[in-house]
């Protein structure tokens, strides 16, 4: 069932929320929606329509791109991603 989701927050190296980062999936256990989330003022984002399994996310911020690996086991997988300031 593709009813799992990743709920997350992107923070900088000081732990402060990062607004405007583009977050999207680049690999996963099955087919996934090819939409990209944009982090809000509090750094939060959601990516839904997923099945269980290992995912690789990318976070693009200005001209920098970061990767983040996570395992989705629960219907709502919560992640916190720290990126270096560009």
């Amino acid at each position: 069932m593709q009813n799992h989701k990743i709920q997350g927050i992107v923070v900088n190296s000081f732990g402060q929320p990062v607004q405007g980062a583009v977050v999207y999936i680049v690999d996963g256990p099955g087919s996934f929606p090819d939409i990209a989330a944009v982090t809000s003022e509090d750094g939060s984002f959601h990516l839904g329509g997923l099945s269980k399994g290992a995912y690789q996310l990318q976070i693009t911020l200005s001209d920098s791109t970061f990767t983040y690996d996570c395992m989705v086991d629960d219907p709502t997988e919560i992640v916190k991603i720290a990126v270096q300031d560009p």
């Binding site: 999207y24 509090d42 939060s44 990318q58 920098s64």
Partner: protein, 316 residues
């Protein structure tokens, strides 16, 4: 032998041409008939080798629900020590060892100008980026999950449509809309096979009349397998503000989907998947999904074609 071949060709053609809806657009540059690859703007980079059921299809639409932004309850539940994301020197590519996408620059010639960056404001207040394309002056086709977001309260609150966005340049301006259409197969059943929808722009905003629009067609399996399919949209790894293109023949075709190795990234949901015939462009799919073993589009099957005809009329 020649007669037999001719007969077979004619027979195939008569089966191939199932349903076709006209396009409207002109090419600034002449288009040569060489397979179905698009001719790119001069400044774009060329690599060395350019090379359902009726219930589920029920039309549903909504003026976007209004609501205040709700801070997520999970916000305070994170651990203090967040794992550090790895910096990626060059963007990952979903399929294959190399990134074959080509930037479209400028974006003001047809068909590129008929492709739009989307800024999606969900009912929850969350923001997403996607891609859409005109099929009439006010009808913008896209993925169902760009207009109806199951995890974000359903219908989007509003979507800004920006044709031919190119960095900071908006050569045709933009319009926001809160009028959307999809089908119950997506909104109620969340069935990937029915993941398609559209945005109807306000009557005062006929951007498609300036950009032109794509035709669309319901074509046979054998036809689709034999043609190079083009895809262009606004990927998130490029910031979502520049248009990128790639083309390949499909890997496989099912009654409801088209699977291909065309490189895409998050943000390209809703992109047109089209073939070129002379100077005519006909969409045959709506790009929706990524997968390391093959990205895919919702195929413009007969019921999808019929629905798109009605949506086209809504935005005429």
């Amino acid at each position: 032998m020649a007669t037999k071949n001719q007969s077979e060709m004619e027979e195939v053609f008569s089966e191939d041409l199932l349903e076709v809806e006209s396009f409207a657009g002109t090419s600034v540059e002449p288009v040569e008939e060489q397979d179905t690859l698009e001719r790119l703007p001069a400044s774009s980079f060329y690599p060395q080798l350019i090379l359902g059921d009726s219930a589920a299809a029920q039309d549903v639409g909504s003026e976007a629900a209004q609501g205040e932004f709700l801070r997520d309850a999970y916000f305070g539940s994170y651990d203090d020590a967040a794992p550090r994301a790895k910096s990626t020197a060059s963007p990952e590519v979903i399929i294959g060892p190399t990134d074959d996408r080509i930037r479209i620059n400028p974006t003001t010639s047809y068909p590129w100008r008929a492709i739009c960056a989307l800024r999606i404001r969900a009912a929850s207040g969350a923001t997403y980026i996607g891609t859409g394309w005109f099929i009439s002056p006010r009808t913008v086709m896209t993925a169902g999950h760009c207009v109806f977001l199951h995890n974000e309260g359903g219908w989007a609150r509003s979507i800004e449509v920006i044709p031919a966005l190119n960095g900071t340049l908006r050569p045709y301006g933009s319009c926001a809309s809160s009028t959307f259409r999809s089908v119950s197969g997506w909104t109620s059943s969340r069935n990937r096979n029915f993941d398609y929808g559209c945005i109807i722009l306000p009557s005062s905003c006929r951007l498609g009349a300036r950009t032109g629009w794509f035709g669309f067609a319901n074509r046979s399996d054998s036809f689709l397998r034999s043609r190079t399919l083009n895809l262009s949209g606004y990927p998130g790894d490029k910031g979502g503000n520049t248009q990128w293109y790639h083309a390949q023949r499909p890997k496989s075709v099912t009654p409801r989907t088209i699977v291909y190795d065309i490189d895409t990234m998050g943000g390209q949901s809703g992109s047109p998947v089209w073939y070129l015939e002379g100077s005519n462009r006909y969409a045959v799919g709506i790009h929706t999904n990524g997968h390391s073993s093959g990205n895919s589009a919702t195929r413009i099957a007969s019921d999808v074609f019929t629905m798109m005809q009605s949506w086209k009329a809504l935005g005429a």
